[in-house]
C-alpha cells in the first residue's frame, strides 16, 4: 500500500497540532522556558503516580489472604530472614515466591531498608497481613523509587533516540504521553506491582538495540526475564532480531558468541545460589512455570477464555493436550511477524515485532492474567507518535478489560481519571480519520460507555451472574484480535528506511 492510500484510510495521520499536550509545549517554546519541559513532565508523571497511590491496594483490608500487596510484602519478609535455599520452599501456601530470582533479590533489598525503618513491617511470620499507613507509604515509595531510576530515564532516553533529531516538541510530547499511559500507572501504583522494573529493563534493552549495543541490550533483557518470567512474551521477537542482526553485521559470528556469553553469564549470576543442587533449580522452575494450574484462570480477555464461553475447553481436553494446543497456537500466531523481523531486523520492525509477538502470547498462551496486557501495551505505547489512533484504541480497551479487576479493588475513580487525563492531553479525538475508521471508533466507545452504564445500574440476571464480565471479555478479546491483525498488517507494510544503518556501516569501514 502506498503512503497516500494509508493516509486515505486515516491510519497514518500524525498526532494533531492542536492538542493540549502540543499546545503546552508550544507555549514553553514560545516563551523560551523550554528547558523546564522534561523536568515538569517527569514531576507531573510522578505526581499522578503518587495521587493514584493514595488509593487502596490489592487486598486492602481483605483477610484472610489479602492480595498482591501482601504477596510482595511477604517476599520482602522472607528474603531478609531466611537463607536463599529456602526462598522457593518456605510455606508456599501463603504467597509463595513465583517469580524468578531477581524479584527475590529486589525484595531482599527493599526488605532490608524497610526493616531498618521499622522491623515490625517485615517481622518473620508475625507480620502477615500487616497493614498500616506508614508501611503502605513505604511500599508505594519503593515502587516509585524503582520506576524513577529505571523506567522513567528509559523513556526519556528512548524518546531522545527516536525523535531527538526531529526537534524538541516531538520527543517531549512522546515522553509525556508514554509516561502518562494509564494502564501501567493504575496497576503499579494502584493495584500494586513492580511491572515497571520488568518493562523498564526491557525498554533499556530496546534503547541499546536502537543504539546498536546488542550485547548490553541482551544483558538488560536477561535482567528483565530474570525479574518476571512474563518477559518471555517478548523473547522470540528479541531473539529473531538479534539473530537477524548477527547475519547482517560484519563479524556476525563474534557477535553471536558475545551475545551467547552475555546471556549465559547473566543468568548464571542470577541463578548462581540455586545452581548448587538440581532440586533447588528444579524447584525454582516449578514455582516460576506453574503448568499444573491449567490453561486459564478467571476471566481474561484472551482467546481461550473467549472460546470457553461456547466450548468448555478445560472439560473437553486434558491438561497435556491443552498445553500442546496453546503452544501450537501461540507459535503459529507469532511466526509470521517474528520471521519477518528476523529477515530484516530494522528498528521499526523490532517495535512492531514486539507488539505482535507479545500479543500472540497474550491471546493464545498459558495462564494469562488480565494484567499481562501491560506487556503488549509497552511497545504499543512506544509507537504513540506513529500510530496514535491504534495506540489510543488499544490502551483504552486495555483499561476497559481491566475494569472488573479494578472495580474489585475500589480503584474505579482513578481508573476513569487517569484514562481521561491521558486521552485529553493527547487529544486523540482530533486525529483526522476516514469515515469508516470514525464509525468503528464511535461504535467501540459507545459499547464501552453503554457497558459501564448498564453495569453500574442494572444488576445482572440471576442465571448469569457473570454476564457483564463475560461481555467485557468477549468485547476486549475481539478488539485485541483486531489489534493483533492490524499490527501484523502494519508490520508487513512498513516502509523501511534504507539509510537506517549506514551510520553504523560507515563507522566500521
Amino acid at each position: 500500500m502506498t503512503k497516500s492510500k494509508m493516509q486515505q484510510h486515516g491510519v497514518d495521520s500524525p498526532l494533531a497540532k492542536n492538542t493540549p499536550a502540543h499546545r503546552w509545549f508550544q507555549i514553553l517554546v514560545q516563551n523560551q522556558t523550554f528547558w523546564t519541559a522534561p523536568l515538569v513532565t517527569v514531576l507531573f508523571a510522578l505526581f499522578v503516580r503518587w495521587a493514584v497511590a493514595l488509593n487502596p491496594y490489592s487486598g486492602f483490608q481483605v483477610p484472610p489472604m489479602f492480595g498482591d500487596y501482601e504477596a510482595q510484602r511477604h517476599w520482602m519478609e522472607l528474603t531478609i530472614h531466611l537463607p536463599i535455599k529456602k526462598w522457593y520452599r518456605y510455606e508456599l501456601q501463603w504467597w509463595g515466591l513465583d517469580y524468578p530470582p531477581l524479584t527475590a533479590y529486589h525484595s531482599w533489598l527493599c526488605g532490608i531498608v524497610g526493616s531498618w525503618i521499622n522491623p515490625a513491617w517485615f517481622a518473620l511470620d508475625e507480620s502477615r497481613g500487616y497493614e498500616s499507613p506508614d508501611s503502605k507509604h513505604f511500599m508505594r515509595a519503593t515502587v516509585v523509587f524503582w520506576e524513577s531510576i529505571i523506567f522513567i530515564p528509559a523513556v526519556l532516553v528512548f524518546t531522545q533516540i527516536c525523535y531527538g533529531k526531529q526537534g524538541h516538541l516531538k520527543k517531549n510530547i512522546a515522553a509525556l504521553l508514554i509516561l502518562l499511559q494509564p494502564a501501567l500507572i493504575i496497576i503499579d501504583h494502584g493495584h500494586f506491582q513492580f511491572n515497571n522494573i520488568m518493562l523498564g529493563t526491557t525498554l533499556w534493552a530496546i534503547n541499546c538495540f536502537m543504539m546498536q549495543q546488542y550485547a548490553l541490550g541482551s544483558f538488560f533483557f536477561c535482567l528483565s526475564l530474570g525479574f518476571k518470567q512474563m518477559a518471555l512474551y517478548y523473547a522470540p521477537a528479541v531473539f529473531a532480531f538479534l539473530l537477524g542482526r548477527c547475519f547482517k553485521e560484519p563479524n556476525g559470528i563474534a557477535m553471536f558468541i558475545r551475545l551467547g556469553v552475555t546471556v549465559v553469564a547473566t543468568f548464571g549470576v542470577l541463578l548462581s545460589p540455586f545452581l548448587t543442587s538440581v532440586e533447588d533449580i528444579q524447584q525454582v522452575f516449578h514455582r516460576v512455570f506453574p503448568i499444573a494450574r491449567g490453561l486459564y484462570e478467571d476471566k481474561v480477555a484472551n482467546m481461550w477464555c473467549a472460546v470457553n464461553v461456547v466450548v468448555k475447553l478445560r472439560q473437553l481436553f486434558d491438561l497435556q493436550t491443552t498445553i500442546r494446543l496453546s503452544l501450537v497456537a501461540t507459535v503459529l500466531a507469532m511466526l509470521p511477524s517474528v520471521i519477518h523481523l528476523g529477515f530484516n531486523p530494522t528498528r521499526k520492525r523490532l517495535m512492531y515485532g514486539l507488539v505482535c509477538c507479545s500479543m500472540s502470547f497474550f491471546l493464545f498462551s498459558f495462564q494469562v492474567h488480565e494484567k499481562s496486557i501491560l506487556l503488549p501495551a509497552l511497545p504499543v505505547t512506544l509507537l504513540i507518535l506513529e500510530e496514535p489512533w491504534a495506540v489510543s484504541m488499544f490502551i483504552n480497551v486495555a483499561m476497559f478489560s481491566m475494569f472488573p479487576l479494578l472495580k474489585r479493588e475500589a480503584l474505579v475513580l482513578p481508573y476513569f481519571l487517569v484514562t481521561i487525563l491521558w486521552n485529553y492531553l493527547a487529544g486523540f479525538h482530533t486525529i483526522p480519520m476516514s469515515k469508516v475508521v470514525k464509525l468503528l471508533t464511535s461504535i467501540c466507545y459507545t459499547v464501552i460507555l453503554v457497558w459501564h452504564i448498564a453495569e453500574s445500574y442494572i444488576p445482572p440476571p440471576q442465571a448469569l451472574p457473570d454476564l457483564y464480565t463475560v461481555l467485557n471479555v468477549l468485547f476486549s478479546c475481539g478488539c485485541y484480535l483486531l489489534a493483533f491483525l492490524y499490527f501484523n498488517w502494519r508490520q508487513f507494510n512498513l516502509v523501511d528506511n534504507a539509510t537506517e544503518y549506514t551510520d553504523h556501516r560507515k563507522k566500521h569501514q
Binding site: N31, A51, A141
Partner: protein, 499 residues
C-alpha cells in the same frame, strides 16, 4: 485557559482520597445545621464542637449545598451524626469544593479580560487557580475577592465595594483588608477630582495634585450599598435579637497569642527570641517568669507567656496592627492609584498577619493571592514574590502531615514553582538566576534543608515521638523570617516609591 481548568479538575479529583483535616467534619456539621435546623438555631446549636463561626452568607452557602447533599448521602445531614464520613459524603464534599472554585475560574477569566491577555497574565491566572494553598483550602472566596479587585481596576467602585461587603459576610477574616478598601473607596470614589485642563497625559498626577471635592452623592451611594449588603446578611438576626450571640461566635475570645502551630508571623520570631533568651538567661542567672517556662514547651493553645521578653496582650497587637496598617494607608490616601490600592491591600493583610492576635497560618493566602497579581510588575516585586511564596507555601506544609501526602505536596509545589517562576522572569526579560540576591538563594536552599530535616533527619537523630514541637517551631521561625523580610522590602519600597 480551558485546558488549565480541565487538567486542574482532574488533578483535584485525583486527590479525593487525600487526607481530610478537621475542616471536613466542620463543613459536614454546618451542612447538617443549616439543612436540618431553623435559622433561629443556627448560631446557638452546639452539639458538635465545631460550631458555626462564619457570617450568615456562608451559612446560606452551606444551605444551598445541603440541598444537593441528599443525592449523595442523607445521613450526613443529621446534626448528631458526628464525624460521619461515608464514601459518598467525602466525594460530595470534594465535589462542592471543585464546583465552587468555578467562581475563582470565572474570576481569573475576567482578570485576563481586564488586565490584559498577554502571556504573563495567563501565567498569573494559572498560578492563582492552581495555587498549592488550594490543596488545603477552598479558593471560592478568593474568587470573590478577585472579582472585587477586577471591578476596582475597571473603576466600577460601587460594584467592587458591594462585592467586598458580600465577601465580608461570607468570611470575616477579610476584615484584615477592609481598611485598604475603605480608604481607597473613600478617596477615589467619594472624592471626585475637579476636572482641570490637562496639558497632556499624566492624568493621575493631575488628578490628585489638585483639590478633590467631596461628593456626598457618591458617599451616600457607597454607604447605602454596603449597608444594604449587611442588612440582607444580618437583618434576620437583628430581627431575632441574636446579634450578641452571633458576634460572640464570630469573634470568640480565643486564648493565646499564637495558634497551636505558630503562624509564621512576628510573634513567632518574638517567641523564638524569648526561648533563646531563656537559655542565655539560665546561664547568666537572670530571674525568669516561672509560669512561662512551664507553658511554652507543651505547644498547646493557651495563654502564651514569655519568660524574658515583655508580655503581649490582645490590645497591644491591635495597636501595633493599626499602626502598621496606617503607614501604607496614608500613602494610599495621598496617591489613590490602583497599583497603590493593590499594594496597600497586600500590606494591610501583611500587618494583620504579622502582628495580629491568634493568627491562623491560612491567612498567609490573603497576602499571597492578591500579591500574585503584582508579581511580574517589576523585578523588585518578583524578588519579593519568590521569597514570600516559598516561605508562605512552605509554612502550610505541616498542615498536611501524613506521610502519604508528603510527596504529593512537595511535587505539586515544586512543579508550580518550576512553571511559574521562569515564566515570570521571562516576561521581565531577566534570566531567573539574576533575579535573586545570593543570600536569598541561600534562604531557599535552607528551606530544602529544613524539609529534609523535619521529614527525615529529626526522627533519625531523636527517634519518633521525641521533641515533636521542635521541627514545627523551626518551620515557623524560618518561614517567619522570610515573611517578615518580604514585608519589610515591600513596605520600604512602597514608601520610597522605588517599587
Amino acid at each position: 485557559m480551558l485546558n488549565v481548568l480541565v487538567v486542574s479538575s482532574i488533578v483535584k479529583l485525583l486527590l479525593v482520597r487525600a487526607y481530610r483535616s478537621t475542616d471536613f467534619e466542620v463543613h459536614r456539621n454546618w451542612l447538617a445545621i443549616t439543612y436540618s435546623l431553623p435559622i433561629s438555631e443556627w448560631y446557638y446549636e452546639k452539639t458538635s464542637e465545631w460550631t458555626l463561626d462564619y457570617p450568615p452568607f456562608f451559612a446560606w452557602f452551606e444551605r444551598c449545598l445541603a440541598t444537593f447533599a441528599p443525592l449523595a448521602d442523607e445521613k450526613m445531614l443529621q446534626v448528631d451524626n458526628l464525624n460521619y464520613a461515608s464514601e459518598n459524603t467525602v466525594l460530595f464534599q470534594r465535589l462542592t469544593v471543585i464546583v465552587s472554585e468555578l467562581v475563582l475560574y470565572w474570576a481569573i477569566l475576567r482578570y485576563r479580560r481586564s488586565f490584559g491577555s498577554k502571556y504573563v497574565h495567563w501565567v498569573i491566572a494559572g498560578s492563582i487557580f492552581l495555587h498549592p494553598g488550594f490543596l488545603i483550602y477552598n479558593g471560592f472566596l478568593y474568587g470573590i475577592l478577585l472579582h472585587s479587585i477586577v471591578e476596582m481596576k475597571k473603576r466600577r467602585y460601587l460594584l467592587s465595594g458591594f462585592l467586598f461587603a458580600a465577601l465580608l459576610n461570607f468570611k470575616h477574616i477579610y476584615l484584615y483588608m477592609a481598611p485598604a478598601y475603605f480608604v481607597y473607596l473613600l478617596k477615589a470614589y467619594c472624592f471626585q477630582p475637579i476636572p482641570t485642563p490637562t496639558e497632556n497625559g499624566h492624568a493621575d498626577r493631575q488628578a490628585y495634585a489638585n483639590v478633590s471635592r467631596f461628593s456626598l452623592a457618591n458617599f451616600v451611594k457607597l454607604g447605602a450599598t454596603v449597608a444594604a449588603v449587611f442588612a440582607i446578611s444580618l437583618g434576620p438576626f437583628v430581627y431575632m435579637g441574636q446579634i450578641p450571640q452571633l458576634l460572640s461566635r464570630l469573634f470568640p475570645f480565643t486564648r493565646g497569642l499564637c495558634h497551636a502551630y505558630w503562624a509564621p508571623n512576628f510573634w513567632a520570631l518574638y517567641a523564638g527570641a524569648d526561648r533563646v533568651l531563656i537559655i542565655i538567661g539560665k546561664r547568666l542567672g537572670w530571674s525568669l517568669n516561672q509560669d512561662a517556662l512551664g507553658s511554652m514547651t507543651r505547644g498547646f493553645v493557651g495563654d502564651t507567656k514569655f519568660a524574658v521578653l515583655p508580655q503581649v496582650d490582645a490590645i497591644h497587637t491591635l495597636i501595633i496592627t493599626v499602626i502598621a496598617q496606617l503607614i501604607p494607608l496614608q500613602l494610599l490616601w495621598r496617591k489613590p492609584t490602583f497599583n497603590n490600592f493593590l499594594t496597600s491591600l497586600v500590606l494591610c493583610g501583611f500587618a494583620s498577619f504579622l502582628f495580629g492576635w491568634h493568627v491562623h497560618e491560612k491567612a498567609i493566602l490573603l497576602i499571597l493571592i492578591p500579591y500574585s497579581l503584582m508579581a511580574a510588575n517589576t523585578k523588585a516585586h518578583l524578588r519579593i514574590f519568590i521569597i514570600l511564596s516559598a516561605s508562605g507555601i512552605y509554612s502550610l506544609f505541616p498542615l498536611l502531615f501524613h506521610s502519604a501526602e508528603t510527596p504529593i505536596k512537595t511535587i505539586f509545589t515544586l512543579t508550580w514553582f518550576l512553571i511559574v517562576l521562569p515564566s515570570l522572569a521571562r516576561t521581565l526579560h531577566t534570566p531567573l538566576r539574576a533575579v535573586l540576591h545570593p543570600l536569598e538563594y541561600l534562604y531557599l536552599v535552607g528551606l530544602v534543608v529544613l524539609q529534609l530535616y523535619t521529614d527525615v533527619l529529626h526522627t533519625v537523630i531523636f527517634g519518633t515521638g521525641k521533641l515533636e514541637f521542635l521541627p514545627l517551631m523551626m518551620i515557623s521561625i524560618y518561614t517567619a523570617l522570610g515573611v517578615c523580610y518580604g514585608w519589610v522590602r515591600l513596605m520600604v519600597g512602597y514608601l520610597n516609591g522605588t517599587i
